[in-house]
Symmetry: C2
Subunit: 218 residues, 2 copies
DNA sequence: ACGGTCACAGTGGGATACCAAAAAGTTGAT
DNA sequence: ATCAACTTTTTGGTATCCCACTGTGACCGT
């Protein structure tokens, strides 16, 4: 589901949600900072309702914490939270690639291969943004090939947290190479190899997040 | 009837959510039937606001479908949805029991054993309600022992769908026996056995849901 | 200084009334 | 019968008002 440009009739609540989400993920709103409905409504020139809905949505995405009758705050993640998150993500992503390996067709593999090739090319050109986009498509196509809507739904919810906690993977070439291995195993429907390498793939991105957290103290 | 002591400060939105959820799960609102904010608000003598929030919550729980600017409807599940759901659930529950097996302590195993014993006793007495409650506690303690909050969060979201799709497991004694096997494997920290038997445990409950669906003609 | 009490401001939850925009439903012309 | 135009229904959103509860800090007694 790509950009969808000038959607003239975008719901206010959706717009507000996107703005707040970006504020949080991009660090413009720090963990622990207050989200006061009235203030945000004033800032964005909307009524309190869309803001309320946006906050609810972000709570369900796990990046905001709200208690009744007080302000909501941007969630503060602990080392433990990151560990928990990584464990669950490992299981879900492994599942995706295994299902995709079992169910893919030639067309799907072709799409993944093209995404991988674009990723590799961008990585070699040190084009961070391009590599990130291609890698994202690699994952999206995999979810599609897994043909399990509920899994897709779950991953979608996790995606915000993922963006926030892990940011982009630094060494683009290493990631592209890992994707190549995953792709080959998928094409060969080699689920056993996937069960081994996907967790390793994820682990390589995890330390970065933990280090960033350590720097902030927490 | 209303057991709950007059919790004076229950949020209306929470109350409305619970009522609607029960209506859906218990079949008082059929799949496909409309959820009209205004009408529900009138029925329950509240304003549209709590109803709106309740509907959003139920959408995030996956039992209601809402499109912009029209009424929401109770979700209609297809055979495929149930299949998808079962696949994801299998992975998550396996994860829970494996983590719980790796991380439990004596006290935790004791709590699970007592829950199991109450379940068995209730099952022998043909006490459906009692067995269901004890089985639920069995699962809850397992989630707790898994000590992964995010996993617990995920399972909580799934729980409504679970209740709705699968209802109660029919043969209480068979379920209790499966729980015994899981419990013993957990106590022995035998994750390999768990990886084998948990999926089997879940599969035994799945056919019932599919048959019920088939009767309704999907 | 210190710890607890208490009053008050801040904030979300909810009610009410109203409007706009889009979808759903109805009617009528062809 | 089909499709276009019209009407109705319904949600999304704005604007206010009020209440219950939370958080905070001043006050007080020790």
């Amino acid at each position: 589901m790509a950009a969808a440009v000038g959607t003239s009739s975008e719901l206010e609540s959706v717009r507000v949600t996107r703005i707040l989400r970006d504020d949080i993920v991009l660090g413009r709103r720090a963990p622990g900072s207050r989200l006061v409905e009235r203030d945000i409504a004033a800032e964005l020139s909307v009524s309190r309702l869309p803001v309320r809905e946006a906050i609810r949505t972000l709570v369900s995405e796990g990046v905001v914490v709200a208690r009744p009758r007080t302000w909501a705050v941007v969630r503060e993640f602990t080392r433990r939270d990151i560990q928990d998150f990584a464990e669950v993500r490992e299981a879900l992503e492994t599942l995706i690639f295994i299902f995709a390996a079992e169910r893919h067709d030639e067309i799907g593999i072709g799409r993944m291969r093209r995404a991988y090739e674009r990723e590799l090319e961008a990585a070699r050109a040190d084009d961070t943004e391009g590599a990130r986009k291609a890698a994202a498509e690699f994952h999206e196509v995999a979810v599609e090939l897994a043909s399990n809507e509920m899994l897709g739904e779950l991953i979608a919810v996790f995606l915000t947290r993922l963006r926030w906690l892990f940011g982009q993977h630094e060494n683009l070439l290493a990631m592209a190479d890992e994707h190549r291995i995953i792709l080959e195993a998928m094409a060969a429907r080699d689920t056993e190899t996937l069960r081994r390498i996907v967790p390793a793939h994820l682990a390589s991105g995890q330390t970065a997040a933990e280090q960033r957290l350590a720097l902030r103290g927490s």
